[in-house]
């Protein structure tokens, strides 16, 4: 019998099987995507835990400073290089979408680590007379900063690459983290983003590379072998 005969009629069984298989493909794609995103989140969590441990270690060293000399604690013990990579990874993860609640939690932890690092560096400067150079960068991912925040992030990343000792602490202004909101209050940063805090003064709107170099003359004193933190968001 010729297989073509009587096959014009609708094949509802095949439609259903094809639908189920296609749905299964979609489910597999969703599962695979979630699986790899969760792997990334775990990697970031591990890195955050490492950084947290290192900061705790430094803080403990401060407590012991009375018994040790400043030479036992150096600036390079703080803000390890993972911080820069972590910022970029979080930014990428956020842009990719996925589990936003988990990403927000990781960002909150990252912001806390940045603040702790910022405080530890300041404490080190106070006790040991080091002269850290840093920028506080406030951005928004709510779409109300759009191109300016994206370009500001690019400029700060380029600056970090140019001056590896420069510390750029980037914060999502809208992140509901108590310590971050306190920092915003202390520095009196208004919701006019992007905003940069440089040498205690707040600058609003996009700041070019040369403008930052002009208001931060200490950049010239930086060497090119230490670590720094990069802008976490390009938005």
């Amino acid at each position: 019998m010729d297989p073509v005969v009587n096959t014009t009629r609708a094949r509802w069984g095949s439609y259903l099987v094809a639908f189920l298989i296609t749905a299964l493909i979609f489910a597999t794609a969703l599962y695979a995507s979630n699986y790899f995103n969760n792997q990334r989140i775990q990697d970031i969590q591990t890195t955050e835990d490492d950084i947290s441990t290192q900061i705790l270690s430094t803080e403990t060293q401060f407590d012991l400073l009375q018994e040790h000399s400043c030479s036992d604690v150096s600036e390079t013990d703080l803000a390890p290089s993972e911080m820069t990579a972590l910022g970029s990874e979080l930014s990428y993860l956020e842009a990719q979408g996925g589990n936003q609640a988990e990403i927000t939690r990781l960002k909150s932890t990252y912001s806390l680590l940045e603040i702790k690092d910022y405080l530890a560096v300041q404490e080190l400067a106070q006790k040991c007379g080091t002269k850290p150079v840093f920028i506080l960068y406030f951005y928004s991912n709510n779409g109300d900063c759009a191109n300016n925040c994206e370009e500001q992030g690019d400029v700060l990343t380029a600056l970090s690459q140019q001056y590896p000792d420069l510390r750029v602490y980037s914060f999502d202004y809208n992140l509901q983290v108590g310590a971050l909101q306190t920092l915003i209050s202390i520095d009196n940063v208004k919701y006019d983003l992007p905003a940069l805090v440089i040498n205690g003064k707040t600058y609003y709107g996009f700041q070019s590379l040369t403008a930052i170099q002009k208001v931060l003359p200490q950049l010239a004193t930086l060497q090119k072998s230490a670590t720094s933190t990069a802008a976490t968001s390009t938005k």
């Binding site: 005969v5 014009t8 094949r11 493909i25 995507s33 994206e150 370009e151 990343t157 380029a158 590379l209």
Partner: protein, 408 residues
């Protein structure tokens, strides 16, 4: 909104691929793939093969010679060459073949392919009538692979397995892969009673059915689609004989490929409008419920995905330019597993690519018996999806404004 559209189109595209594959895997369809070996017929119907030509002096000889060489009883075969008002030496070149008793050469005023076919229909009483475009050649056993399918009275037309004649450049290698995919699609659509094209290269028709339907008509420069849809709308079955191998000339340049595909897509869209009563009408089974809607949606999907990818690429390029302007730093490219895109969208794209490879492989097996993919497959996968939307978009615009298209 855009995400919803993207996933919906991806679902429909994947669904159609999966549906064809599921249908193929059903046992009764698999049987047809084994159409090989010696063929014998109890009786041989008379067959007329028409070669409509317009300025084909360079290629018509090979076409006629392949027909003369057909393995079929001489007294049962007619070869009707219809010169449709050529302005070159097509007529005189074809005339030289009249030394063979089976060959008759006619000349008429230019009127289009459908008029040449109807002209031939008036000059033959053969049981079966077919067409072989003057840029194509048929394998020696091609007709013997087709004719037995007509022993089933329900079958009114049979399409062949079409392969490319030459693969001299990258573009032709990519088309070669596309044709293998078409072998699978044509085979499966016929098996589902849903063929909506009877291609110019060696589609054979039951002459009585063609006469009953009123012969060939103008079909927006795609008469082979118009005839197929008309046959389907009247309930006639179109079968496929994938091992009836035809080799056809394909465009060498992007421009000629673009023009050809604009014509095909334009014709398909205009014919779809003409036969819109079939779309979604359960009377016509798989063709109306699945095939025609999916074929139409696939055109929209191709254009949509092209613009979406182009938009995202454009945005990325603009970002890099702006980044360079504000930082003076050139982009650097590094590799890290962390940054490999593992979004659901990408996994679906990979699934779609894998399915296409399976379909190309299956088409190759059905058409040639080989189990290896054509060498142009990577090129096809990477580049062709960026080329297709160019002519899809152009054809859609032209179809909306009914601009018409030219053969050349």
């Amino acid at each position: 909104m855009l995400t919803g559209i993207t996933y919906s189109l991806l679902f429909i595209s994947l669904y159609f691929e999966v549906f064809l594959l599921v249908a193929f895997l059903e046992r009764r369809f698999v049987r047809q793939t084994t159409q090989s070996g010696a063929i014998s017929l109890i009786s041989y119907p008379t067959v007329a093969i028409v070669v409509p030509c317009y300025n084909e002096e360079k290629s018509v000889s090979a076409t006629i010679m392949s027909l003369i060489a057909l393995d079929y009883p001489k007294d049962k075969l007619e070869i009707l060459v219809v010169d449709d008002g050529s302005r070159d030496a097509t007529y005189s070149v074809a005339k030289e073949f009249e030394t063979d008793s089976r060959v008759r050469v006619f000349h008429k005023e230019n009127g289009g392919k459908h008029t040449a076919m109807n002209f031939a229909l008036l000059h033959t009483n053969a049981d079966l009538i077919g067409c072989l475009d003057a840029d194509s050649t048929v394998a020696k056993d091609g007709l013997l692979r087709v004719v037995p399918v007509f022993e089933n009275n329900a079958v009114s037309a049979v399409t062949p397995g079409i392969h490319v004649k030459e693969t001299r450049n990258m573009l032709q290698h990519m088309q070669n892969v596309e044709y293998r995919l078409s072998v699978f699609n044509r085979f499966m659509l016929a098996a589902l009673g849903s063929a909506f094209i009877t291609p110019g290269p060696f589609s054979i028709f039951r002459a009585s059915v063609v006469r009953e339907l009123g012969g060939w008509r103008y079909g927006h420069s795609t008469e082979d689609m118009e005839m197929a849809l008309r046959m389907q709308s009247h309930g006639f079955l179109i079968a496929n004989a994938p091992r009836a191998i035809v080799h056809t000339g394909i465009p060498r340049t992007l421009k000629s490929l673009f023009n050809q595909r604009v014509r095909w897509t334009y014709g398909w869209l205009r014919n779809a409008v003409d036969y819109r009563h079939m779309i979604g009408n359960r009377t016509y089974g798989n063709l109306s419920i699945i095939v025609l809607p999916c074929a139409l949606i696939s055109i929209g999907a191709g254009i949509y995905f092209f613009f979406r990818i182009a938009f995202e690429l454009g945005q990325a390029v603009i970002h890099e330019i702006v980044k360079y302007e504000v930082t003076g730093v050139l982009p650097h490219f590094g590799f890290s597993f962390f940054y490999i895109n593992t979004s659901m969208m990408w996994f679906l794209v990979w699934f779609a690519v894998a399915l296409i490879l399976i379909l190309v492989g299956t088409g190759t097996f059905i058409g040639t018996g080989k189990r290896s993919l054509p060498i142009g497959t990577p090129l096809f996968v990477i580049f062709y999806s960026f080329l297709v939307p160019l002519w899809l978009g152009t054809a859609v615009v032209r179809a909306i404004f009914k601009t018409g298209v030219r053969w050349r």
